[in-house]
Structures are given as C-alpha cells and as structure tokens.
Amino acid sequence: MIAELTKKYPSLRVIKAYPESGQKWVYLVSIDTYGVVMLKIIKRMDERIRREIDIVNQNDIPGVPKIKEISSFQHEGEEHYYLFEEYIEGETLTDVLKRGPLDLPQSLKLFESLLIVVAKLESLGIVHRDIKPDNIICAKDGSYHLIDFGIARNLNLTSLTLTVAAVGPHTPGYGAPELFQYNKAKINSKADLFSVGVVVYQAIFGRHPFITGKEADLNEIWYRTATVMPKDDLIPGDTDSQLIGLIQTLMQKQVSKRPPSAEKALEWYYTVLGTLSL
C-alpha cells in the first residue's frame, strides 16, 4: 500500500507506523512538500469517514490538526483514499496524566483551548461527542489539540446513527448523560461541554470526577455518570470557588443546568480567570 504511494510521492519516508485501527492505517511520514506529517489511509470510505474529513477539511477549527491534502489511489483494483494531516509533536493527555495532574496554569490553558474549539464547533453546528484525554494532544510548545472527529455529529446533516439505537456513540465516563439516555437525537454542544468539564477536572485533580475504575460494568459507569456529582474540591488560587463552580456547571447531569452555550461558557471562563489568584 505504502509502495503505491511512494511511487506517487518519491520523497515519502515512513518514520513510524501506528497500530492498525478499524478504519485507517496511520503513519508518521516525511515528505518534501509538507515536511513531517501524518498519513492516514482509509481502508474503506463511508459516509461517516467522509463527514469526519469534511468537518476538519472544510472548517478552520483552532486547535485541530489541519488536513493538507486528500486524494486517492488504486490498489488491487480498489480505490483507497488517503490524506496528509498536520503532525502535532507531543503526547496524548492520557500519557501526560499518567505522570500526575497538570499544574493550574497548564490546566487553564487546556480549559481555554477546549472551550475555544467547542465554541467554534458550536458555531458550525458540530458536536465532537468524543472529547477525552486520549483525543487531546499536548504539544511540545504547550498547546493543546483536539483530534479524532470519528463520531462527530454535524447537526445540519441527517444522523448516521440508527434512530432505534438506544445509545448514541460516545466514550463511557466522558460522554454526557443525554448521549446514552432519553434524548440522544437532540444533542448539541452542551454534550461536549460536559466532556470538557470531566477532562479539565481530571487534569486538575489527577482523578476522574465520578469513575473510580472499580465499576463492575458499563451500566455502572453510566449510572455513576448520570448520578454522581464530585465534591466541591478546592483548587489552590480559586479563592472564590468560581473555577470549580464553572467546572461543576459544565458537568451538570441535566442539559438545562449547564451553560446555555459553549460561547457563553467561554465568556464565563474569562470572567472566572479574573477571579483567580495565580
């Protein structure tokens, strides 16, 4: 497969091959035209992947790696799509958190970055639905990047999830209750705000707000996600409890109790920032 592409791009060199995923082969490559970039070869193009690519390719979303080129080639009589995507040098937030929680300035940077992305997605009518530490790259320059729009939902397009499906796509423990409860069909950016709250809480305290890791099964994770509110933990410098207040508000179980929009949440974030003693 790579050999076919090397014919097309003679300067292409594979630096690293990532473990094979269900839908793509992913490589870190160098190529004269773009330098070091990610190469993703789509095993079989379908509507969900097409939408994932469109979301990133058609919109300038801050903090999201840019697609530099999309094309296709023939291999054994089949057409395979591939794309070159901006490479963010760094590691996932999951790996970073294995070494301990982020300090407050880093946590705030993460918080702001995620809110900016979600506000932008909101303005485009897109819900990411899978914001979690695995999908956040902490770049070497200290910036944070959201990746993997594989289950993102464009609210302007028909849902690709079966209407009869009881549960919408999400990652248990990070997906908002409405994604697996009553109104998965009516989701909006507030579902992403919930996940942002969970991720930021985890980044600050070094532990998940309501999952202990001892849950017996998926149902228990869902149950805890829908019912357990973390304590009002103290954050050093958050003397007026405004930062924890905002995080708790994002993590409210019911949509009506979260901020009315991601744009508003970002506005509130900047207000909260002014109350902190850093």
Partner: protein, 403 residues
Amino acid sequence: MKLFLQFGHGMKALTLDLSKKWDGASVILSPRDMTPEQLIVWSKDFERAGVECYFDPQCYCPKGEQKRLVQYTYWDCNLNTNLQSSETKIDRQIKEIKRYNDIAKSKAYILPSILNNYASDWADRFIFQSKRFIDSAHSVMNDKPVYATLAFPKDFLIQSEATLEPVLQEILELDVNGYYVIAEALDRKYLIDNPMWLSNVLHICATLKIAGKKVIYGYGNHQLLPLSLLKADAMASGTWLNVRSFTNRFIDIDEQKRKSTWVYYPDALSEYKLSFLDWAFNNGYLVSMKSKDKDFLDESINKIFKSSVPPSATGFNETDAFKHYLCCLKHQVDLLDKPSYKEALESYEMLLTTAEREIERLENAGVYAQTRSFRNFIDINRAAITQLNKNHGFSLGMSWKSM
C-alpha cells in the same frame, strides 16, 4: 423583576389607582373578569392612565366556567375553545385573539394554552399544542413580542428534574420571544407546602432566563418572591386568591366575598385577619407590627396604624387590604433587585429569617396568622432556593448583569 397586576374581579379602579401611585403599571387583562365591551372602554382608560396592558386569552380550561369568556369571539359556543381542532380554526382563533390585543394595545402577545391533566402523553400533547399556536401566531402576530403560555399541571410540577428535562429542552426550542408561565397550585392551595413544586417552578424559570428568554410568571404571590433570584422579568399578582394562585377551578367571587379581610404583614410574609389585629391592638402588640420600612406603610395600612381605635373600627376594608398587599409585594420585589445574584440571594435569605422570627414573636404574643401564616412555608422556600442555588447559582451569578 417587576410586579405586574393580574387583573381580577373588580380590579379596574385599583389598577388605575396603583398606576397613579406607582407612576405607571402593567396589567395582564383577564377576559373572564370583563366583557368584550368593557375591554374596549377600559383599555382606553388604562391607556390614558399609562397602564401597559397584556391580554391573557385564558383558554386553560375549555370545559370550565366561562360566563364571560364565551362572549369573546375566539371562544367557541360549544363549550370548548377549539384549540384541539383543525389548523384553520386555530388560525381563526389566533386572529381573533390578535384583534383583542389590538383593542387592548397590548405590549406583547400572550398565546393561548390548555391546562391538560398530567399523564404519560402530557409532554407530547403540550409541545404539539404549543407549536400549533406558535406556528399560527407567526402568520399574524408579527408586530410585537410573542409569549408562549406554559401552563403546567400540578402533577407535572412534582415530578423529578430528570422528568422535566426533556420537556424543558423542547420548550427552549420554541420560536418565541418569551414565556408566560402558569403553574397550577397543588390541591388548590394558595401557598404550596411541597418543596418539589416550588423548586421545579424556579428550575424551569431559571433555565429559561439563563437561556436568554423573557419570563412572566402569572398568578403569583409572595411565596414566589424567589423568582427575583433568577431575574424573572415579571411576576403578576392581584387581589382575590384566584389571581394569586392558579387552579383549574375559577373560584366564585361571591364565595370569596363571604370570607374575612386579611391584612398582609410583609415582615412576617403572613396575612392576619382583622379580628386578630383587633386582638393585637387590645393587647398592645399592634404597634410592633408596624414595619420599620416606611415604604411598607401606604395610606391603606396607615388607616390602622394612625388610628386610636381597633383596626376593624377604622373603616379598613377589603379594597384597602388588596391595595396594601400589592404595594407591599411591589416593594418586596424592588428590595430584591440587587446588583448581584449573591446579594439577591442573601437578601432573600434575610427576608425568610426575619419572617421566621416575626411569626414566632407574634405567636408568642398570641397573634396568629392562622391559615395564612408563612410559618410552614419558610422551610419550603428555603429548600427550593437551596436547590435553585445548587442547580443554577453559578450560571445566575455569571449571567446576572446581562439578564
């Protein structure tokens, strides 16, 4: 939050009087308490007096008492309002309601709503009906804001917040400028002794306000003062109990008239019968019921406090009691208008603490407010505002200045 007048039986003179005293007033007109002919004449009087009008078509109970309502052209002669019939009829009704709004020169349109009993299909019916009215309104009501009426049956208001949630999400998507919230009272009670009811009312209104919608709460009373904590745009209240709380039964005015005159003591959030004030007068306690805040001492109540005879001998009557209640309520609403959510919350908590202390002090002196004592409702309201703070405190604090 502003105090609107919820028009009721015999309120025309009082409305004009209060508008003069307050330098303007807003009233939600009640077709069940005025004929279409009176609406034409009184609307002009109100306009001249600077009273801003709203027109509530009062289609809540199609099978209820509608002695006056049947005289309005939007009401069907076959003892129903046609609200569940074909689109054409709804369009016609909306046009007729608009005509009455034009007569009243209303500030905004209040759309009709039926108070359906709570059942498993209630939410679907409620949203379906609301959307039909709104769709129809959009074709003719384009010159001023449109408010959807949200008539919540009592049994819905004691459900869990999780049950309310999908309904709230649907309501937020309704294409209107604001909401006229009607909450059916539990057991037809004036004051509600179930914290779930009050907490849910506050939760619904707070959600709507934080989402940037206008909210007018209809048929309110002093128990609903915490609506100030979420900056509801207005609460409407009136004279008789049937305009201070909403039930699916229109209380007969003659039945009410046989009842006693109750005098509101704002510091205790309670009303006392004239006979008990006589008792307080005779035992030297009446003077201690004179509020230290002179803005609570309107000319009506001063008949009692500036007299050397027992209250019942001062000529203080029902009209005075109504006027005093509404003046006090307006002042209490004004007192809760604070520069921050935190200050508003603290003020309201102080109001409850003061009321608790005053009720106890007076009871120790043998002065009882009996069935209109707020004693048993202080904890209800405390519980409800605790939950409001937990649910929306942060968002209200952040949104306060822009609400």
